[in-house]
Amino acid sequence: MQQRRILDEFTVNHELLRGNLATPKWWLPTVLGLLVVVLFGFTLMGIMFNRGLGVTGLSRPVYWGLFITTFVFWVGISHAGIMISAILRLTQAEWRRPVTRAAELLTVFSLLTALFFPLIHAGRPWRIFYWITPYDFARGIFPNARSPLVWDPFAIGTYLTGSTLFLYVALLPDLGVLRDRTTGWKRSFYTVASLGWRGNPRQWRLQTVAGILLSALMLPIFVSVHSIVSWDFAVTPAVEGWHSTVFAPYFVVGAVHSGVSAVVTMMALMRWLWGWDNYIRPEHFDALARLLIVVACAWLALTFAELIFGVYSLEAPERALREMQMFEWPWNLLFIIFFLTGFAIPVPLWFFKRVRNNIAMMFWTSILVNIGMWLERFLIIVPGLSRKQPFVFTWDSYQVSPLEWGLLLWSFAWVMMLMLLFSKFFPLIPLFETKESQVFTTDVQIGRVTMPAVIRELD
């Protein structure tokens, strides 16, 4: 497949800074539209703080519902960035280049969004300090470092800080480009933000080493984050269907499945909105789809293990839960939709090269995956809680209230708005990676055939 374009640096700057140096016509109306939804969401939060959690559908025994599902969902999406940036950087996959920045950005914004949900779910978010910071000496109560609910903020805090710094370091050379293309206060801003980047060999060398070193450091964090989120559930023996050892890798692989799919969705949007056809090409979708097939199959194996071990113990309550999850109304409908959208429809389609290279098909199938993955989290969290168990006095199901649906909608609008605001001030496709790719790829002639080749530095 030969889709590489030879572009000089001037063209790269000109095309990739299209959204920064000029404002596309659709940008302002879209941002304003999203702002309306975002403000509506904040209003809903205000109503909830004022009236109490009674306005949601949460009630005993289902205390964790849509909010926690959505929290897990957005933490899952955040696994896009490091998967693309770190793993593909370490394995020297050339096709990662145009997607790294947007994927890292998605990590940062989806984590920010994920953080909202446990906070608002606490009902009185300002009291969260009692829970994670050791300050209340007078009462003699400290945060319980043994609780998974305290592990969470540490894991997510580390991942968010690390991802933001990772994003910033890789942004330095591009900030230098923006400094050289702007005037007035913008120039001053980019001068300070780029820290005086000049592009000498030392700075480039450090940039390369930093990419590898930070990737190697971020990878173990990436794995730990969703594992720790999974332990919120897995270490609890009291809820059927939660106390499963496979949860940690199951959540991580599921997160990669949903995160990489979200990157595909985003890439299609970037290509359509900014017209970056020279940079985001069908071959990138093809490569991501191949990666997704592998990830999805691993995820299916883990799902299979999860289900088979549910039945393995031959204990009546656990079997009853599985029966309810898969065969009883309305869970059976959700389960079918989950399985069809999360795996059965998109993955077989990706086996066809024509689908992998069709951007519209990739867009829609990647959206399907995320519908499925949201439902997966819902099906893990809610049915387990809604069954009667020891120390549970009622046995009731859970109806998601309109307010909760509103806040789910808010989360999507919020992430999109943040992404669009970012795109106004910073390039979404890394310029220097694109230029580096131009330098480090070429063609090689073997006999009568010309094949793409890359340049590898010798140690």
């Binding site: 470092a145 043994r146 894991a155 293309r181 000498n200 480039w204 450091l217 730990s224 131009q438």
Partner: protein, 169 residues
Amino acid sequence: MAASNSVLGLYDTPNAGADAMDGLKSAGFELGTFDVLTGTPYPEGAFGEHVPQHRLFRFPFFGAMVGITLAILFTAGTQLAYPVITGGKPILAVFAMLIIAYELTMLGAVVATVVGIIFESRLPNLNLGAYDTRITEGYIGVVVECEDDRLEEARGVLQTAGALEIKTA
């Protein structure tokens, strides 16, 4: 000896830039007093430049040490200060503490690495010296730091290699 002048030669092809670097070397300018500025990373040594040394790998170890110390203080200190048994776990529950210790160790390592990257890149340094905005557009800049007495010689070498423009700062 502080270098008092910074001279920049601007070239439109990497080959010309590499020639300028060769010229400076053969004219006897010391390694480390001249450098190449590019808008894109090239393979190391592509311009025959001085290969920079760095100590970046020390930073994460230092950061990790700080992180793990803080984590132990937080997890052990808070639980020992007000020992309350919860969930039948020991007060110093090592396997639970390990998780927070791991996260803070990694956080320390990442933060220190980023500080290290900025420090080792010799940033921030808002004074760009002799510079041209066309460098981020694909032109190659070769910059020489020299005393007044070698200024003309440096300009000459840069010119011979085919500089489009020569700037002094």
